[in-house]
Amino acid sequence: MAWTRDEMAARAAKELRDGFYVNLGIGIPTLVANYIPAGMHVTLQSENGMLGMGPFPFEGEEDADLINAGKQTITELPYSSYFSSADSFAMIRGGHIDLSVLGAMQVAANGDLANWMIPGKMVKGMGGAMDLVAGVKKVVVVMEHCAVDKKTGALEPKLLKACNLPLTGTRVVDLVVTDLGVFSIDKHGHGKPTLIELAPGVTLEEIKSKTEAEFDVAESLFAA
């Protein structure tokens, strides 16, 4: 049985470590905040200029001056700090953020990432995604394993030999969490991705059939 969105977020949350500074993208990545283990201290960065992002406000307590990068109203924490966009991206570009979790349209075997543009469609812009993948120490992608063609209903693999959409970054992804399993990426080398986990009930055959990229399978999976 494939993982739900929440289960995918929970799996991504296993990459967190005590003391980490983390940037979470919009969508499933945002859910990762719900799975920070009790007792673990993780500080969330919002690239519009905040460290120490708190939960959504109680109704009636929204503050127009306090939003996250998804433009949602949020709250502050006792250890929060605010800064300008230049300082925020100095932090990101300078390699001070430990982990970024974000969504993707496509990931290639070498860690290339496409998540901002579909040619021919109206383009909304890359926002901070290119800066995040270029600057953050570790990049985790959380995405559905396949896209569904809206016309034909056909499944289109998203973990590819090479991306065919315009890139957000080259050789930037370290780990891919999908609803079917988890792949580690050899972004600095020439090795294939390695399937290191399977969602419960998902077979190797199923995931192979739904993946365009060639990949190795971790020994631990054979043992299981």
């Binding site: 919002s46 690239e47 519009n48 200029g49 905040m50 939960p55 959504f56 406000p57 109680f58 109704e59 307590e61 929204e62 503050d63 127009a64 001056d65 306090l66 939003i67 996250n68 998804g70 433009k71 949602q72 109203t73 949020i74 502050e76 605010y82 800064f83 300008s84 966009s85 230049a86 925020s88 991206f89 100095a90 990101i92 570009r93 290339d112 543009m117 109206m122 383009v123 909304k124 812009g125 890359m126 926002g127 901070g128 995604a129 290119m130 800066d131 270029a134 600057g135 315009p166 890139l167 957000t168 970054g169 080259t170």
Partner: protein, 233 residues
């Protein structure tokens, strides 16, 4: 009254606006945008503007208002997803658009204010953003050269400002405002509270008054784009 203080947005922009000029406008989404100054630009009817702003407002609010009146010829932004009119004008060729990664945009503006005509960044290497730009290796990694951005006019929004133009911002409404204040040939600031000098602790000033040539106090709607809340237990 200090020579920097103007009675309202229209007065503060008098003699500054002209067709085809480049304007930087602070804010992220609708957070920390100079509402009154945008309204005054709309009122002026000035046309052919190049607007440098992270976003383009929403339909009918923020910079969206200047799209309605077709005063904007070109936007330099990182994300314009919340604006249908924008899409329409862009697809019909009425509006030019230059996308910058958000961090590159922020740094280009800072560079403009800081006298740095170009710098190197890893952001965008190997993507459309780097096409036609100089690439260079440093310590074995590839970087792309990006150039500064400056503007004829910067309009910014702060929480408090004093009569000398010292500004402090509130929470995430700071965003692009401090760099834009540095990068405008003329910078006009609007604040929620105009205070006397001596009110703001010199250690708390975010934008020193040297960067602000004109300042007004205004009232602000401060519209919320995505009102997200949680339930009380």
């Amino acid at each position: 009254m200090s020579k920097k203080v103007y009675p309202d947005a229209v007065a503060a922009l008098a003699g500054v606006l002209r067709d085809d000029m480049t304007i930087m406008a602070g804010g992220f989404g609708l957070c920390g945008i100079p509402e009154n100054l945008i309204a005054a630009i709309k009122l002026s009817g000035v046309k052919g503007l190049t607007v440098i702003s992270n976003n383009a407002g929403v339909d009918g609010f923020g910079l969206g208002q200047l799209l309605e009146t077709k005063q904007v010829a070109k936007m330099v932004s990182s994300y314009v997803g919340e604006n249908k009119l924008f899409a329409q004008q862009y697809l019909s060729g009425e509006l030019e658009l230059e996308f910058n990664p958000q961090g590159t945009l922020a740094e280009r503006i800072r560079a403009g204010g800081a006298g740095i005509p170009a710098f190197f960044t890893k952001t965008g290497v190997g993507t459309l953003v780097a096409e036609g730009k100089e690439l260079r290796q440093f310590d074995g990694e590839t970087y792309v050269m990006e150039s500064w951005l400056r503007a004829d006019l910067a309009i910014v929004k702060a929480w408090k400002g004093d009569t000398e133009g010292n500004l402090i911002y509130r929470k995430t409404a700071r965003n692009f405002n401090p760099m834009m204040a540095m990068a405008g040939k003329i910078t006009v600031a609007e604040v929620e509270q105009l205070v006397n000098v001596g009110t703001i602790d010199p250690d708390h000033v975010h934008t020193p008054g040297i960067f602000v040539q004109r300042i007004i106090e205004g009232s602000h709607e401060k519209r919320i784009e995505q009102r997200t809340t949680r339930k009380r237990d």
